[in-house]
């Protein structure tokens, strides 16, 4: 039942509309930013807590989004950041924060996860997700959910309530339902916009795009790291296809000794390189979050893929890097940094 209580609390947090309580120490606010403004944190200063979110690195051409759709996505990222930050401000766990943030993105049809996921060739949503706790490298993952409203909470349930790490298919939905998670009919996940996109792909009017994934990584006040990733996968994927999002070490990784990673992009390349695990391996060797992420994105590019990732190192350094045209992303921390972006700086 613990999960349900957490879920309910997070739901409230996500819906809260009051402005965020600024708890950053006064001396840390030199770079305090207004929403949408780029802020540069003082170097080498480790914030008390940090949360990064992403909403996918898709095949966006610069300026190709309508102003309306871009604004909706930015508002969604903002709500997700606030949901996660509410947990961290109160001294809560990084693990709870990333779950809270991802639940908001799953519920927001702007993003390819939960409601509004892209559709398989058969016109259905098949949802994948993983979550990982950097304290002990415990992890949970689910693939091919069709009825569970918040796949990220099903992944957490696998981690905490079963002896296993990963479940796929109808048994994963059954486990979620049996444990009291919110379930939905298949129609809930399917939006008009995604049906239109699928039809354009089926009519060969456009190529199937990698519309990415959502994810969050966080460091809490105790220095714990956590990562969460959730997706509907690739538009027009073959039914049964599993991408990188639920693959621990590919779509995400968290280890207090190195870093937390959530990745997005052409998932097959992320699986073939064990992307998220390699970012953390490079951080463990002494690389910064940015250098480790760029080195591992180069592996992806060398194989012919693209995408991006959000990363927090154990030393508090962060990366929000991508080699695609854009990536929905946001950063919020205890110093008052708060920004959302989609195109390169």
């Amino acid at each position: 039942m613990r999960l349900l209580v957490v879920g309910a609390a997070l739901g409230l947090a996500a819906c809260a509309s009051e402005p965020p309580v600024r708890e950053a120490p006064v001396e840390a606010r030199s770079a305090q930013a207004r929403e949408g403004e780029t802020s540069t944190p003082a170097p080498l200063e480790k914030p008390e807590w940090t949360l990064l979110v992403h909403g996918g690195a898709g095949a966006l051409s610069s300026g190709s989004l309508s102003a309306e759709r871009e604004a909706a996505a930015m508002a969604g990222l903002d709500a997700a950041m606030e949901a996660g930050a509410a947990v961290l401000r109160e001294g809560g766990l990084a693990l709870d924060a990333v779950e809270a943030a991802v639940r908001v993105l799953e519920d927001d049809e702007s993003f390819n996860a939960g409601r509004g996921a892209v559709l398989t060739l058969a016109g259905k949503a098949e949802l994948d997700a993983m979550i990982m706790d950097g304290r002990d490298r415990n992890a949970g993952a689910v693939a091919q959910l069709r009825f569970t409203k918040n796949p990220i909470s099903a992944a957490r349930l696998v981690m905490e309530q079963t002896p296993h790490v990963m479940f796929a298919g109808i048994h994963a939905d059954a486990l979620a339902a049996h444990s009291g998670l919110d379930m939905r009919e298949e129609d809930y996940f399917v939006t008009e916009q995604r049906l239109d996109s699928l039809q354009r792909v089926l009519d060969q009017l456009e190529e199937a795009k990698n519309t990415g994934t959502v994810g969050a990584v966080a460091m809490d006040r105790e220095g714990n790291l956590a990562a969460a990733t959730s997706t509907g996968g690739m538009m027009a994927k073959m039914p049964g296809r599993v991408g990188d999002a639920p693959i621990v070490g590919a779509g995400g990784y968290a280890d207090n000794a190195s870093c937390a990673v959530s990745s997005t992009g052409h998932g097959e390349y992320y699986i073939r390189t064990s992307f998220a695990r390699m970012v953390c391996a490079r951080v463990a060797e002494g690389m910064s979050a940015e250098a480790a992420t760029q080195a591992t994105l180069k592996e992806i590019a060398d194989l012919g893929g693209d995408g991006g990732a959000i990363v927090i190192s154990h030393d508090g350094s962060v990366s929000l890097a991508f080699n695609s045209a854009g990536m929905y992303r946001g950063q919020i921390d205890a110093r008052g940094v708060k920004e959302t972006k989609v195109y390169p700086d």
Copy 2:
């Protein structure tokens, strides 16, 4: 159709009963071994080709196997080695060799893969497999197959015939069937011995054991590396559970620039550490196959898990290491080395 032709050719190779053609150069045969005899290859000499196989690192107590069962398993390893070696002797690909070897182990009910797989709590077999080609790090994986006779060939089909890396569930079986792979009724996979074992677990007469997995790694004459892993997973697993075997980077990895790995053991720990990818990362940093494997097994042990792995480095060095009581394993190479073992040296 190419896969079918390959499959048929491999089937013949596996059934061939004539003694292996010794193609190792005369000067390399100083350590030529008779079957079952331990042989020590000359140090630093890289054989023209090498194949390692494993049949699982289970909860074996030393001497706990009946002589009859141990002999049957050793004969199975031997047949698998010969099937793979037949490919390599002819100058064939490492990729073809590991598929050939694993198909033999899947067909042999001594091992927990294909026919004779362990059973879920529901009394069914759910089969996972992955294959990876070190030439380009292309990979294929399948999870929860219930009807496909040789899951490893389904994994190869995913790699070669789809734009994706991984499929799970009934759609994976459908893909295999549609492509002409051999299909079986569910009863084919279920053996009396596994039903008895499941019943003893359900009656709580014994603990659910990790009876391991099968796998093969090979280096061919061109220096190409490949890895293949196939399993029924854990005895009495919850239906829907996916273990490490089909997770690229956990149950296996292959990259000509570093190494080829197939692992076996308590899969959840292998997923949480991205075991196979980390062995290759350590080899890329300059560690020997043995040092890299031991360092990564220590990560597994530190988390509380056990198991083992077979590894071939790009420099030709090998490891067949485990921290469990035993691991069915075999080594064959162009110098005439040929041995099978289960307990520690």
